[in-house]
Amino acid sequence: MNLEIALLLGQDGIVNGAIYALLALALVLVFAVTRVIFIPQGEFVAYGALTLATFQMGKTPNTIWLLLGVGILVALIDTIIAVRGGNLGRLKRIVLWNLVLPAVVVGLVLLLEPGKLPLAAQVALTLAIVVPLGPMVYRLVYQPLAEASVLILLIVSVAVHLVLAGLGLLFFGAEGSRTTPFSEAQFQLGTLAVNGQTVFVVGTSVVLIIALYQFFGRTLYGKALRATAINRVGARLMGISNTMAGKLSFTLAAGIGALSGILISPITTVYYDTGFMIGLKGFVAAIIAGLASYPLAAAGAVLVGLLESFSSFWASAFKEVIVFTLIIPVLMWRSLTSHHVEEEE
């Protein structure tokens, strides 16, 4: 290997690492706030990438029907509960968020011929379809299980992953897609050719991470999420509902997932099940951070990205084996440094 190849691999690693970092942050966030280990994160990546790709092929993505269907289901359940509890005041919000909003998005997609719109508009429409699925999934699947153990929530997460992946295959078929790059620019940095998409991906990740940092540090809602993560009972006593916090964190995670998919789809061909693997690598990073520390998760993600790109050069058949085996020394280290684990409730 010469320096040039090393730099190229390094560049690849950092681009992937930036995506893993975003996903790892979302995973840490969701786990801290809801105790859900969010395996289906990867499906949001795939849905984001493939919905955009479908627009660019001039077709209508089937994800709009999913949005509409899930919205109707949520509205139905919430309406029944509201009527039974005599809380008719809630109906307006229920209808607005679960029926009107999806209907408007679906209407726009059907009317506008998104394939001919500028890229930014396509991205916005993609996000408008995929992101609301986050809080809706929370509502349907996790909210009734809010008091369940981490293990039950994890098993359910795997089930949600299977459902969404199965639907992904149904919607997008088995073939992969790529989207047009955001930037065709090429820079020369010494001997290294840097392409614009790389800069765009890394830049967007950095901006997003800073924005999240500001959100958690400066805004009341960000602080409310942190408070829920620190002390769920304490937060409820302040009137910060765990459900609200759960929906908010799922919205953020779905947004980050879909955006990651959009960012990565010009670089890699995305299949309906690609997201799962990408998400799992975000996981390895999040586990390195013990599902707790945001900066460590980001650092772990870059490490995973680099490890992956270099091992694909040396031993490409064992790329996945190497990346997922990385988790073993990490767990080993955590196991040896963790003290006698005991949960005095």
């Binding site: 699947v141 459902v163 149904l170 996981f283 084996v321 988790i327 767990l331 196991s335 005991e342 409730e345």
Partner: protein
């Protein structure tokens, strides 16, 4: 006889099935059997032990590839290959278990996802395992010269293996080790305090589950006579977990029900769904995923508990405790000898000093009461002494030996029994079984003899001891009640019986009288006096002053983590410092 009837009918149906059914259904039953063996391991691991694994398919793969490789490349006998496969699986499980089982709950399932993927890719990328095409022409299994070369012939070996595994698992669960396994789900603290090595117990069930999976893989390889990586991937591992959860993960028969249901459904859905969706693909996973979500939301215990309500006569436990030779007792120290001495103990949590400069002694044959306002650090002191949360500095001597660095299970072995301020019991287990956990260290028979039921004499002695202690605390009429159905006061008494089962010479009781009614309190005081008369040292934390002052020989008063007074009950009651601590209101 009547309660065995459904089982008998089931066994007869199983026995005649290969003769009666078509090839298709025999094959289906073969697969149900193979999957059930793996799911049974998950019942033990996940349903009973509370540890989740998504990676069992990888262990199935280890068993299948071990025999596939050894029998084709090295012409090893399949039976020897089985043994080698089991040994290999045990070693891999031991290593993986060592890494993840000490960590908090969710690391194990995440770890299993990671190595489930790793092993799958490894199977597919190692040249000597045939890469993604796999290994072919695996030899036919022969048993006493009888060639098992068709599905019909193979059927019996699968189902005998499964029924054997079910019987062994059921035997294991109804034993001393089985109670330790079932105690894992209640959090390790109580089990450790009763002398159970929870890390070892977790590793044991992890290995058993892996070995079951390995056997299933071995059978699979010789039934199919070829192997490739596909059936050992993560998604199949997830499917095994589904089977256990849907069937009823806490029951051995749940594994069979779940495996049967999912296998049949899958077969059916694979025919139906592509027609509905109009294209090919694994759409049954959508259905399974939704089904699992609904099962977990609505009926977390799975189908089996529902099924036994329909067949109500099937699972009724034994209702008598046989008389048995009493267990040997330890030598009690002479009355008046110091059994426990705490010197300058200090406990710091984060930056908070919970105990400082605490010293106290307990003698054999006396009741020492530790009192003080709420939050004074009494329970912390208890946890330091019993090894649950070791002291930061200072010395604790028990029977003349330093114990401040020992684990709680080592301390209970030396003769210190305890109860908890917040009752810790296994609510769905019977009172008798809960108390028998206390006698864990007084038996020695292991997992193997338990699964073969070779330890019945010892088991009878343990249960008889539990019964004896329950009668002593006045719960002799509640032996077979669910522990969770007792009122709080009786749950506390049950904890005392459990502590007595450890054969202690020092008893640590954390608020034993809280929640008891007047007469119950008197009975408890009577019991403690009797124990004191037998030479037992008793250290008591209690809020009920009448109870304490009428019973204690000496009293230590704590406030803000420190000792503020010590002496005879009447001395302490007159101490102005104590009066201030207790009664200092707002002037």
């Amino acid at each position: 006889m009547k309660r065995h009837l459904p089982l008998l009918v089931f066994l007869v149906a199983l026995a005649v099935s290969p003769v009666m059914l078509s090839e298709f259904y025999v094959t289906l039953l073969n697969y149900i059997g193979l999957y059930s063996i793996v799911a049974l391991g998950l019942v033990l691991l996940t349903g009973v032990g509370g540890l989740t694994s998504f990676g069992q398919a990888a262990f199935v793969g280890l068993g299948a590839y071990a025999t596939g490789y050894l029998t084709t490349a090295h012409a090893v006998s399949p039976w020897l290959a089985l043994l080698i496969g089991l040994a290999l699986t045990a070693v891999v499980a031991l290593i993986l278990g060592f890494m993840t089982l000490r960590l908090s709950g969710h690391y194990l399932p995440l770890g299993t996802i990671a190595w489930g993927i790793s092993l799958y890719f490894l199977f597919g990328n190692l040249d000597f395992l045939g890469g993604h095409t796999g290994l072919t022409s695996i030899p036919v299994l022969e048993l006493f010269g009888y060639r098992l070369d068709t599905g019909r012939r193979f059927y019996y070996i699968i189902w005998i293996a499964l029924l054997g595994a079910i019987l062994a698992t059921q035997n294991l669960l109804n034993s001393r080790e089985g109670r330790a396994i079932r105690a894992l789900k209640g959090g390790g603290l109580m089990a450790e305090a009763m002398g159970v090595n929870t890390a070892r117990t977790k590793t044991v069930i992890f290995i058993i589950a892996a070995l079951f999976a390995c056997v299933s893989g071995w059978l699979y390889a010789h039934l199919q006579r070829f192997v490739n990586p596909t059936p050992f991937g993560l998604h199949i591992g997830i499917e095994y977990l589904f089977m256990a959860v849907v069937g009823g993960a806490a029951h051995v028969w749940g594994a069979l029900v779940g495996a049967g249901l999912i296998t049949v459904l899958k077969q059916w859905l694979q025919d139906i769904l592509p027609k509905i969706f109009g294209q090919s693909g694994n759409f049954e996973v959508i259905f399974f995923g939704l089904m699992l979500i609904i099962v977990l939301q609505r009926a977390r215990d799975g189908i089996w508990p529902w099924l036994i309500r329909v067949l109500p006569s099937m699972e009724t436990g034994e209702r008598v405790v046989a008389e048995a030779e009493p267990l040997p007792r330890r030598q009690m120290p002479a009355t008046g000898a110091v059994v426990l001495e705490v010197k300058n103990a200090r406990k710091v949590f984060g930056g908070l000093v919970a105990n400082n400069n605490m010293s106290l002694t307990v003698k054999a044959g006396e009741v020492m009461a530790l009192i003080g306002p709420n939050g004074a650090g009494k329970s912390t002191m208890f946890n330091c002494i019993s090894g649950v949360a070791p002291v930061t500095s200072g010395e604790i001597d028990f029977l003349g030996q330093r114990i401040e660095t020992l684990e709680s299970r080592e301390i209970v072995r030396r003769g210190m029994g305890r109860t908890f301020q917040h009752v810790r019991l296994l609510p769905t287990m019977s009172v008798l079984e809960n108390v028998a956990i206390g006698a864990h260290l007084r038996g020695s028979k292991g997992v193997l003899s338990a699964s073969l039921h070779l330890e019945r004499t010892e088991e009878a002695r343990l249960l008889a001891e539990a019964k004896r202690q329950l009668e002593r605390v006045g719960l002799g009429g509640h032996l077979f009640d669910e522990a969770g159905s007792l009122p709080l006061g009786q749950q506390r008494l049950m904890e005392i019986a459990r502590a007595l089962c450890t054969d202690p010479c020092l008893l640590l009781l954390d608020e034993p009288a809280a929640g008891l009614r007047y007469l119950e309190k008197q009975a408890l005081a009577e019991l403690l006096r009797k124990l004191r008369g037998e030479g037992m040292g008793i250290l008591l934390v209690e809020h009920d002053m009448d109870f304490v002052m009428g019973l204690a020989d000496r009293v230590v008063v704590m406030e803000f983590g420190e000792k503020i007074s010590e002496g005879l009950p009447e001395e302490v009651q007159k101490d102005p410092v104590v009066l201030e601590a207790y009664l200092g209101g707002v002037e």
